[in-house]
């Protein structure tokens, strides 16, 4: 028997149900190949990121030397970014947009997903297809009409004007992910709630939602990042630093002329904006892998 499965057996308590959380808690020798794979994955993820950091520590002529290690590392690019009031404004905008959008998307999507996954409803196939078609439409074809509509109804160049379309285009991903996730939760758990006289809505709140925490956390991260990174709508629907989110603000960083890109400051800003995400992941990471056992299976 393999190391892994053996670990699992020993780690699991001898009696009662074992939670999946414990299942893989075998804090022990992993197969050496697993470590090789860990290193490979880390390397693949980190090398381009390292190159980004490397670029962010260079300025002026050293950007053209292609050194693998900056010979004169400087934090100047970071200072420039932090001293740029428009970047700080953009950071604020992005946080507001991403947090509001993610929250509202999760609420709306978990309702819709529960209905799709569990309730009797007509034309589910059609609804699913329609939902998907919203994200499938090429954004460039939507951007121009949206620009003129937004201008006419006064949403142009406002945070709300960005939250609404971003929410719209984030919903399909959220609904699909959550539907798929809810669907995997064993029926028996709700049924026992029904036995106790619960309505579907109560079952949803009291049984499904707590069980779906990993799915919700995962969806939150995915939606947050996709909203955070979206560029085309953001650039089409804003014209002032008061409403611009980070990706657009970075595009507005300028060198000394229309032709040169300030690679150093762009890289520094890109490194900086991964920080909110790292915080988000650290906050959510226990939830991502907490398993459906968290409050679930009655013991």
């Amino acid at each position: 028997m393999s190391t892994l499965t053996a670990e699992r057996t020993t780690a699991a308590p001898a009696t009662g149900r074992k939670s999946p959380k414990r299942r893989l808690r075998g804090e022990a020798k992993l197969h050496p190949m697993v470590w090789v794979f860990v290193v490979a994955v880390m390397g693949f993820s980190l090398i381009p990121f390292y190159w980004l950091v490397n670029t962010s520590l260079k300025k002026g002529a050293s950007l053209s030397q292609g050194e693998l290690f900056p010979s004169q590392p400087t934090l100047e690019n970071y200072l420039v970014v932090f001293q740029n009031p428009e970047f700080l404004l953009a950071l604020r905008n992005s946080v507001i947009i991403a947090v509001v959008t993610t929250t509202v998307a999760l609420v709306c999507a978990s309702f819709a997903a529960y209905a799709l996954a569990r309730l009797k409803m007509r034309r589910k196939a059609m609804i699913l297809t329609l939902i998907l078609s919203v994200t499938t439409f090429p954004a460039i074809a939507i951007a121009a009409p949206m620009f003129s509509i937004w201008r006419d109804i006064g949403l142009y160049d406002t945070l709300l004007g960005l939250i609404i379309p971003k929410l719209t285009f984030a919903l399909p991903l959220a609904i699909y992910t959550l539907t798929s996730f809810f669907k995997e939760i064993p029926r028996e758990l709700e049924e026992s709630a029904y036995m106790d006289g619960a309505t579907p809505f109560v079952a949803f709140r009291k049984v499904i939602l707590p069980l779906a925490v990993p799915g919700l956390a995962t969806t939150a991260i995915l939606v947050f990042i996709s909203v955070w990174n979206e560029f085309l709508l953001a650039v089409t629907l804003t014209s002032s630093p008061e409403a611009r989110p980070v990706p657009v603000a970075i595009a507005f960083f300028s060198g000394t002329s229309e032709f040169d890109q300030p690679l150093g400051t762009i890289s520094a800003a890109s490194v900086i904006i991964t920080v909110p995400l790292v915080i988000l992941v650290l906050l959510c990471q226990k939830r991502i892998v907490s398993g459906m056992t968290a409050g679930a299976v009655k013991g």
Binding site: S45, W51, A144, I164, S192
Partner: protein
């Protein structure tokens, strides 16, 4: 509540039984409607008008030479596009890109998810590190890959040269095949975490009993993975595949920044962009957008219908 009749394990708690079920059914459908309404209304409000408008534009031609001139041409823009070499070239290139990148992302994503699910010291670090690429703004990641492969100055080209490996003196973004390889690599780097996260979430719902049963049967680790984990992961993998394919088939930023579509990397979205934005051929460009849209929808529906997974089950629940 008259729910006593329901047997554990039997399908929905609303199996037809008493006359009361009708009222129940109606109440449930009403609840379902109310729960989906906010999302559907929002999507309809925001997306329907621009999509409908693009549809209308695609049936017309708008003069780029004379102010205000336009004519209704029916399906002519579509016919012209479908008869053009450019469309089919872009079509083929886009599918090549999507096929390669999504396959790699799903394999790597599944492996990553399994890894992230293991218990070992430092897995919190691994989880964060693995997600980093996904957090980089696409355009910036494109610029990073561009500079990494820049002849003489880039990380990759320099390291390959220093190690005497082939590829160090190749102008990656200037050659057929190599350019596509860089674009696929950049996409795999950036979006594998997306697939990994979804699949990781899928791993969470596989209950431990399933594994224990396999253990009792004396299945090897590989057999367990192949016959138990993988089939159970199917919903998550299909879900990741749907959204990754949907994105990959509309790829724009990467080829736009890295090659501007040269060397066999022009995608369907780039073609639409060129007509719509650069050439301002609004009718023709909208037709290309809608063709792109239809292509992606067909692929998505195929996934939903034949890809298996629980989204298909949901779609089949016609009641």
């Amino acid at each position: 509540m008259a729910l006593k009749t329901i047997q554990p394990g039997s399908a929905p708690p609303h199996a037809p039984s008493a006359p009361k079920t009708n009222a129940r059914d109606r109440a449930e459908r009403r609840l379902a409607f109310r729960m989906t309404a906010p999302s559907l209304i929002l999507m309809a409000l925001v997306a329907a008008v621009p999509i409908g408008y693009a549809l209308w534009l695609s049936l017309n031609q708008y003069s780029v030479r004379t102010a205000g001139l336009s004519r209704f041409v029916g399906l002519e823009n579509y016919i012209n596009a479908l008869a053009s070499h450019e469309w089919w070239a872009a079509f083929g290139q886009t599918f090549l890109f999507a096929g390669l990148s999504v396959t790699l992302e799903l394999i790597l994503g599944t492996a990553m998810a399994l890894l992230l699910n293991l218990a070992f010291k430092g897995r919190a670090v691994l989880r964060t590190v693995v997600l980093l690429p996904y957090a980089i703004v696409t355009v910036v990641s494109a610029i990073t890959w561009q500079t990494m492969f820049q002849p003489n100055l880039g990380l990759v080209t320099n390291v390959l040269s220093a190690l005497g490996l082939p590829g160090g003196d190749v102008v990656w973004l200037g050659e057929h095949g190599y350019a596509m390889a860089v674009i696929v690599l950049a996409d795999v780097w950036k979006t594998t975490p997306f697939a990994a996260l979804i699949i990781l979430a899928g791993l969470q719902v596989i209950s431990s009993e399933t594994y224990e049963a396999a253990e009792l049967d004396g299945a090897s680790k590989w057999q367990t993975f192949l016959h138990i984990t993988l089939p159970l992961l199917r919903p998550a993998i299909v879900l990741a595949a749907i959204f990754r394919t949907l994105d990959a088939l509309r790829v724009f930023d990467l080829p736009f920044v890295l090659t501007r579509g040269a060397n066999g990397t022009e995608s369907m979205s780039m073609l639409a962009y060129t007509e719509l934005r650069e050439n301002r051929l609004v009718g023709e460009g909208s037709a290309l957008s809608i063709l792109t849209f239809l292509t992606v929808m067909v692929v998505s529906v195929i996934y939903i219908r034949f890809g298996g997974g629980n989204i298909r089950d949901v779609a089949k629940e016609e009641q």
